[in-house]
Subunit: 180 residues, 2 copies
């Protein structure tokens, strides 16, 4: 049984001007993704669980629990072929394409330890390799392969194990927001 | 009479991991500095009032109400000479030196309107012009000159009018912080 977090992003959720969810990579891994995957309580109910690859990126912001120019999701990371390591990046009317290699995420305290990886992805509409590049970008956070490889078949996996990637979505075009 | 803000940074003040006070320049001007100077209630009691130039920068973080690698202060901005515009930047065992010119801060909504200026400053120990550059940096936020020029002598000015600059202090050396 998961303990309910005490802090929740509701429609009335409002902090004083200037406060934002601006987590470090390490915070995302340690406080959110590691806890999610290991079924430990999350510090806050902030991140929507969604099968992100079923949607176009422009459909996603309204499904996020909060965010003005960045949106966070937990999503499954499925494989393209059952026995391969290659992820399936097809998504609704297009596909996500890696914009770089996996970057290690290290602990900042004590002896530096590798705790996860991140990778930037860009959304293309259409079909690879002739898709059209869009302004939608996301960063995928994963735990190290050794901790994410499912030991059971999907049918017996817990929800927390299925949602094994954390994604930070944003759009390149500057999003202007008001102040009053 | 000032209305007390409802949100206050106390020693027990704790948000879930990943939340930070990361205000935009516009938010600092509109929600904090403009309100301070015009004696309107602040949205949160987050920013220490201090005569910043009486201290060395390394003495300041402990005087801030919160902050892990950035600290915010309201401070008077005094003139070097009574009839001049030049500010007095001498501070404790050194001085602050501008690292660039004033940069305008514009509104992001509707017709772009100039609402303030910001300037980066670097701390030097010793006496100008032979001081030794340090890693301490701050950004000074001011309202436009037309709204900050005191119309009364200092003796009759309100506290809110004296604290006419907002300063964001930080140190260049990366500040590592733990996660558990």
């Amino acid at each position: 049984m998961e303990i309910e977090p005490t802090f929740s992003a509701s429609p009335n959720f409002q902090l004083p001007p200037g406060f934002r969810f601006h987590p470090s990579d390490e915070e995302l891994i340690v406080h959110y993704l590691q806890r999610k995957v290991t079924s430990r309580p999350l510090p806050a109910h902030l991140i929507t669980e969604i099968d992100l690859y079923k949607y176009n990126p422009w459909e996603l912001p309204k499904m996020a629990l909060f965010g003005e120019d960045e949106w966070y999701f937990f999503s499954p990371r499925e494989r393209k072929y059952p026995n391969g390591e290659r992820p399936n990046r097809a998504a609704a009317s297009g596909y996500w394409k890696a914009a770089g290699s996996d970057k290690p995420i290290l602990t900042s305290c004590g002896i530096s330890k590798r705790i996860g990886v991140k990778k930037a992805l860009v959304f293309y509409t259409g079909r690879a390799p002739t898709g059209i590049k869009t302004e939608w970008i996301m960063v995928e956070y994963r735990l190290l392969d050794s901790t994410t490889k499912p030991s059971r078949s999907k049918g017996s996996m817990r929800v927390s194990e299925i949602f094994n990637a954390l994604l930070r979505l944003h759009i390149c075009v500057s999003q202007k927001h008001g102040a009053n």
